[in-house]
Symmetry: C2
Subunit: 260 residues, 2 copies
Amino acid sequence: MSNTSETRSTTVHSVDRAISILQVLARRGAVGVTPISEELGVHKSTVFRLLATLEARGLVEQNSSRGHYQLGYGVIQLAAGATRKHDLSVTSRPICMALADEVGETVNIVINDGEEAITIDQVIGSAEITSVNWVGQRSPLHTTASGQVFLAMMRPEERQHILDRGLERYTEETVVDSERLETQLAEVRRLGYAYSVDEHEIGLAGVAAPIRSLGGGVIAAVVVSGPSFRITSENASELAEHVLAAAAAISERNGFPKAE
Amino acid sequence: MSNTSETRSTTVHSVDRAISILQVLARRGAVGVTPISEELGVHKSTVFRLLATLEARGLVEQNSSRGHYQLGYGVIQLAAGATRKHDLSVTSRPICMALADEVGETVNIVINDGEEAITIDQVIGSAEITSVNWVGQRSPLHTTASGQVFLAMMRPEERQHILDRGLERYTEETVVDSERLETQLAEVRRLGYAYSVDEHEIGLAGVAAPIRSLGGGVIAAVVVSGPSFRITSENASELAEHVLAAAAAISERNGFPKAE
DNA sequence: CGCTCTTGTTTCGCTATGAGAAACACTCTT
DNA sequence: AAGAGTGTTTCTCATAGCGAAACAAGAGCG
């Protein structure tokens, strides 16, 4: 089959067909040679040969002798390479640019290394007079909006381990009492986002939402941050809606099922 | 390149090459045309044409004009299809068969539908005199080893929601007190596995460990179960080692990073 | 700033590959 | 037991995919 009006397409026909087969299997689960042939309009001997190639490389498996075909472990292995953490900024960058444009503030992507938060990408907002480059910088979990997202969503014993090490005070507003922080984190779980003001640095505020991966785990956070005179408790919930939408879009690109 | 001494291989050459390119990108991240050409021993115009095909279908992206190539969102979408829950039994089946052979008891794969545990696959152990087919059967979360794995690993407010509905007594050994169950579940989190005996049915015992996916979320449990005179508190920890190893192998096949 | 080198991209002619037709083998259904 | 349907294999042929050569663009160096 040809799907282009050009005499010679730049794409490789048989690779195109093989990808179509993979997509049929992703959508339909275990399927036979004949239904694939009918759906794609390709001869069943061709389908068979392409499946044999995909099977030889582990992208496809046959569930019994002469049985149906389904996606194999090799696809999961490829995806594991595709979703490695530090490539997250590549998939999220266009969404962050759109968000920065939308809200006018700086947008960061932050990951959790288990002990601290690390900013891996940043888009400067239009409202910024001066720009601090946060990329590569570490920050404590308890004082930043993104850090509070990580603390809120992690398992209690993992969080307890962190709290047991003590909480360092950064400003007069820093919460250093474990019980009070737990209360605050319960609110983060209830709302689905964190809002932090003056806790890490006087005059600095932020709104953060979790980025989830295929299995639902939190792999990063998207944060809108700026001066606390612009990011106030009055407009934080409106800002949060934009941040949550961006986090959902990024999560979807990382395999998290789309919310209906 | 030809990797077979036969005159004509059954696999499709160009599809084979395209998959090799995907695997290079999964391993190396963003790479250029020339390094891929050198690593695979394929002409760079061929690599370019194959990359163009993969890019057209979304499996590969170029990070800037004339820039390096990397895996695209399309691979994650394929993997989302590959890791759907009910296909889990296919990836886990060989590991369960090996585990059943190893420990001599029946092995089940159980998923959590949010309210109850459901067995989706079963391998009968050699020590079984009679065999009960658990596949398709539902069981409560608080009385079974797998159910306790799910309760232990879920977020506290989700668990609270379940506990608030009340716990039904099945035997004299069923724990129906929420605080006592929470203590038990804390032990499950500490050990990484659950051991349940006589709580669901007198004479029935089991050891269960969580199966995790790419993002770390618990998607299922692998359980060894049998009569309580064979699965005792004495041999449960030894049995648990085998179960944990099987759960880790299944988790890895579902994209969870291999523990070093 | 200009030149050189490297790499991504494009074009073209040729042949080895991938296509479909036909047939075979196996399983399921009646 | 026979027929239908589907997975698998073989064979011939047309063309798609290959590599060589050349071009275009960007990076690095003097």
